[in-house]
Amino acid sequence: MIDNWRDAFVDLAYFAASVLFIVGLKRLSSPASARQGNQLAMVGMLVAVVATLFTRGFENSNYILIIVGIALGGALGYLPARRVKMTAMPQMVAIFNGMGGATAALVSIAEFSHKTDIPGGEAVSIVLGTIIGAVSFTGSAIAFLKLQELMSGRPIVYPNQKPINAALFGGIAVLSLLTLVLYDGNLTLARVLLTLVFVASLVLGALVVVPIGGADMPVVIALLNSATGLAAALTGFVLNNQALVVAGALVGASGTLLTLLMARAMNRKVTNVLFGAFGGGAIASGAAASTGEAKPIREISAEDAAVPLAYAQRVVIVPGYGLAVAQAQHGVRELADMLQERGVDVRYAIHPVAGRMPGHMNVLLAEANVPYDDLYEMDDINDDFAKTDVALVIGANDVTNPAARADTSSPIYGMPILNVDHASQIIVLKRSMKSGFAGIENELFHDPKTTMLFGDAKETINRLIGAVKAA
């Protein structure tokens, strides 16, 4: 009787947790309620974890291990999460995602290694959970290494890349099928095979991600994230635990859609990200970039740039990836404050894929305490460039490239861009004439209205601050 109540409590708690995840995810996907949504999901997780402690059949001696494990893992997760710099968020997400994938794979393997009468559906779930979890683990780990620059962020190409991956994939498929065919008769052999599947999947995960460039990592992480969700759902099937199925499937589906949305926002195809470099575009643009050097540009000094800024009525700041690289957000904020004190109307134009992860600029500028009201999304500010005296482009490139609007042959053709070229005057801060992420030349820099202020963004901004003070 008591046991029945206990089971009912656990079941009910899982149900409540599932509902909390759904509502949380729903709120997470709307800006005003996003934080609350995350907190609802947290509550759901807490409920589910506590309920799991009441599962029947636990060995008493294992409780202490569980508690210690959770405390240890929690600390390992919490400390870096609170400390890490905002710009390092993507690699944090990657590493946590890898942890989840590892968990799913280990749980699948453990279930296979101690259960005996495994029905067919469960066996399939176990094998798939092992593969997907393992791929997600090593894939995320490589993504972490690349983003953290412990490994080169450039696409790494090794000989026979495609045949090797194909062979590995085929091997995993064959081993998996063998496992499923054999386990009913020879469980011991099947267990060995599953271990091989696990190891091969680990290698596959790494090999698939190694050739992908660092800038594409957000898409890759989003995809691996959705894979881990799927693996969690599969684990749920094996354990007959609906909270896992619901939460895992939610994440699997929403993660997949999110991946597509992110890829679309940066005008990339997911297949391109996974299986190729920038393709034809990269070559064409390389050529364009080299011929581009011939066209005239106008350089400007910090002192000369300070004058139009200080005496403008309206300035729009266009931040890009270079701002993040240079960690110039605090300087920018200072410069903007100074200009605002002088009565200049300063606003920030935020392109959805400026930087290297969606929302990168928002997070970065928020870190420097830029008031949220000064940030304008692309659609809200694009018409205002025509009325802008100075557009200050800081380490942004592709998101201002007018070729996206007009040049059908450009690899970024069709990507919505900021209409920086409509401003009366444009000042661009970057280190050289090098191209940005898409590797293509930017006509904007040759526009007669544009002047270039070369140098690392952080230093240049500091010089600008000094010059504005003097102006």
Binding site: V49, A110, P119, A247
Partner: protein, 113 residues
């Protein structure tokens, strides 16, 4: 069991549809926090690790289970903490220092869309 598998398939399919429906049309600004938030949610697989460890009856299962619990807990706690930090930054702050115009809080939220 048969019946369970069937019902499980319904649960799975409905959750998939629901996930797709919810994520449809999110603004770009939320892509990263959403990715990170869903990342924390799939840490639910920690429950599986707890069950493995809890029911483990030999050192080998205990070892796998323990590693899995540690990894799962890191996923959950770290994922939620990172997401919360990100979202915290999104919320409206009092306009700092000498900056000019102070807009109402309602406005600030409206613009978020």
């Amino acid at each position: 069991m048969e019946q369970n598998v069937l019902l499980g398939a319904y649960v799975f399919a409905l959750a998939i549809f629901l996930g797709l429906e919810i994520i449809n049309r999110v603004p770009g600004t939320l892509h990263t926090p959403l990715m990170s938030g869903t990342n924390a949610i799939h840490g639910i697989v920690l429950l599986g690790a707890m069950i493995v460890l809890g029911t483990a009856n030999n050192w080998w299962l205990q070892a796998i289970g323990f590693v899995a619990v540690v990894a799962g807990a890191a996923n959950v706690v770290g994922g939620f903490a990172v997401t919360d930090r990100m979202l915290e930054m999104f919320k409206k702050k009092p306009v700092p220092g000498g900056a000019g115009a102070a807009a109402g809080p309602a406005q600030g939220q409206g613009k978020a869309r």
